[in-house]
């Protein structure tokens, strides 16, 4: 058993590709996701078409431009230009002030502003429009507040657990989940499939080793390495991106370990149904990675999906693990709040272990 584990470590450390996937990829992915992908808006280019050019329209324009979100890139003269600037592609939003902006506002208390956004990227367009209306509303209360508003409702909002709406906070739990899944499931399934392909599996099966010993021997090194990976990602998240861990670190690590074991069991199961490294990799990639990314709530919110897909999401172990990681890291909850998710993952682990042990035996016959 000890010899088996040592041998497995030799395989891993001598194969450059394995090493890159195991250690290079997690770091690179965290950095890429952390730095490059961002749902925050900064310095979006806008154009302004101002038919009034009075003190109030200029004041409001200045207010919008001086926020961090926007940069004034063009001042338009008439409506015909709008289409042209959008087509040129640089400008994401055009703000149009109607005629007599200040007079309408002061006399009739009713002035109009039109906001046109480039919705070829709907998320960005939404955010831009929200930011703009926010600024406009602000300006309005500033001007009118003291005057003649009959009733006034002040909405004040607070973003709990992630006050600055940092996207890193969203991505780190997702990345940990996906990497652990990838590394654990794919690497084990490939390494077992490799033994089959090379014919060494036969020799192992002829030996007095029990199937369960073979499986455990193959899996233990990956448990250790995946765990190291999880810690690396958490450290990166903490030191590079300042992601807090509000809850218990030990609980977080324990949950990670549980998830790793689940993924490994899944990997073993995949390897029992595939005879070559190629198949193992294909199955891991397509049957595992894509649904994992798409249906876990990592990128697309599950609440917005059609009901059928929501059901499918429930079958994804990753969905539950992402919830766990977020709850522990951001909300700082204890086991009492996430026992259901933990229970589901434990159940899945048991299921996959059961299935693969069964499959392994059947293949032996």
């Amino acid at each position: 058993m000890k010899g088996f584990i040592i041998k497995e470590f030799y395989h891993i450390f001598r194969d450059v590709r394995t090493m890159v996937i195991l250690f290079g990829m997690p770091v690179v992915q965290v950095l890429i996701f952390g730095f490059a992908i961002s749902t925050e808006i900064k310095d979006a280019k806008i154009a302004i078409l101002d038919y009034s050019r009075d003190n109030m329209s200029l004041e409001l324009s200045n207010k919008i431009i001086s926020s961090d979100y926007f940069i004034l890139s063009e001042i338009l003269e008439d409506e015909n230009q709008i289409e042209t600037v959008f087509k040129a592609g640089k400008i994401k939003e055009v703000i149009i002030f109607g005629d007599n902006f200040a007079r309408n506002l002061q006399k009739e208390q009713n002035a109009s502003i039109q906001i046109i956004a480039d919705a070829s990227d709907p998320n960005t367009a939404n955010l831009l429009v929200n930011y703009t209306t926010g600024i406009i509303r602000n300006y309005m209360t500033e001007k009118m507040g003291k005057q003649s508003m009959p009733i006034e409702i002040n909405t004040e909002y607070k973003m709990l657990f992630n006050p600055e709406i940092k996207s890193v906070f969203m991505f780190v739990p997702g990345i940990i989940t996906i990497l652990l899944m990838l590394v654990s499931a794919m690497m084990t399934s490939i390494s077992i499939a490799r033994e089959k392909e090379l014919g060494t599996m036969e020799v192992l099966l002829v030996s007095p080793l029990k199937p369960i010993q073979i499986v455990v021997g193959k899996v233990i090194p990956y448990v250790v390495l995946s765990f190291v990976n999880a810690i690396t990602i958490l450290l990166l998240a903490f030191f590079v991106f300042g992601m807090p861990v509000q809850g218990s670190v030990i609980l977080l690590l324990a949950e990670s370990l549980l998830f790793i074991i689940m993924a490994l069991a899944l990997g073993v199961f995949i390897s029992t149904v595939s005879n070559s490294q190629q198949t193992a990799m294909m199955i891991s990639m397509f049957a595992l990675m894509l649904p994992t990314i798409l249906l876990s709530g990592f990128i697309f919110p599950i609440e917005n999906m059609p009901e059928v897909l929501q059901w499918l999401c429930n079958l994804m172990p990753t969905k539950w693990f992402i919830i766990i990681v977020k709850d522990i890291m951001l909300k700082g909850v204890g086991l009492a709040h996430i026992w259901q998710e933990t229970f589901i993952i434990t159940g899945m682990t048991a299921l996959f272990i059961g299935l693969s042990v069964r499959k392994f035996k059947i293949r032996l016959e």
């Binding site: 000890k2 010899g3 088996f4 040592i6 041998k7 030799y10 395989h11 001598r14 194969d15 090379l198 014919g199 060494t200 036969e202 020799v203 192992l204 099966l205 002829v206 030996s207 007095p208 080793l209 032996l364 016959e365």
Partner: protein, 243 residues
């Protein structure tokens, strides 16, 4: 009967409607070099896998090293060695590490492993290479090493499944010398091959055609029986007769 180390009675193995082994019965004597011949797809590998406990027979009674393969496969496994068709050492481990690993899975002590490793490295003249990874060695060496590894735990029987595929004639010759040496030390050798010249090296051979054993005897008697000069012609005659 005492010296029959492998006893096969009415072995049948079916995969769905295809019968890979059709009612085989034979025995192998202790210390014998037993050749198990047949064309590709004749059912040799299936039979060898059943004997090693890798596959369960559909029906039949099989005893290897005195144990029933279906019911006592663990005891069988402790007493046999196996070298598969595919080259079966780890390419990315060194010679020493391979010995260590395979000795380990048969539960040998570290000291015994060390002694055996030194013994075989010395015998093969590969002491200087003990820390080279397997993938850097020529195929002929690899095969001899794989054989050494397969018998390092002193099994009673060694199963060789087409051990000399793809090796040059000189290396094959040397390989057979190792087989003889093993047989002389009391290990029973069960070998499949489709090189008919190698069949001449065996004490007794069986020839399988389409899942059945069509002939079983010493090479001399088989040649006499079919009135031909070489095993190759015996084989061709048998295979033709089937068509």
């Amino acid at each position: 009967m005492e010296d029959h180390i492998i006893r096969v009675e009415n072995l049948t193995k079916k995969f769905g409607s295809f019968t890979a082994n059709d009612n085989l019965s034979f025995f192998v004597k202790k210390g014998e070099v037993f050749g198990f011949l047949g064309a590709n797809g004749a059912g040799k590998t299936t039979a060898i896998r059943i004997l090693c406990g890798l596959l369960q027979p559909t029906s039949g009674n099989i005893e290897v090293a005195g144990y029933n393969v279906s019911r006592q496969s663990n005891k069988v496994k402790k007493n046999i060695g196996y070298m598969s068709q595919k080259f079966s050492m780890y390419e990315d481990l060194t010679i020493k590490e391979n010995f260590r690993f395979y000795g380990g899975i048969y539960g040998m002590s570290s000291r015994a492993i060390k002694e055996k490793t030194e013994y075989y490295l010395h015998k093969l003249g590969l002491e200087k290479e003990k820390n080279s990874v397997i993938s850097s060695l020529p195929l002929g060496w690899k095969q001899k090493l794989a054989f050494s590894v397969a018998i390092m735990h002193d099994p009673k029987i060694i199963f060789l499944d087409e051990p000399t595929g793809g090796v040059d004639p000189i290396a094959r010759r040397q390989f057979w010398e190792m087989i003889y040496e093993a047989a002389a030390s009391g290990i029973t050798v069960f070998v499949t091959t489709h090189y008919m010249d190698e069949a001449e090296y065996c004490q007794r051979v069986s020839i399988m055609v389409d899942g059945k054993i069509e002939a079983l005897d010493t090479p001399e008697k088989l040649k006499e029986q079919f009135k031909v000069g070489s095993m190759e012609n015996v084989f061709i005659k048998l295979a033709r007769g089937q068509q």
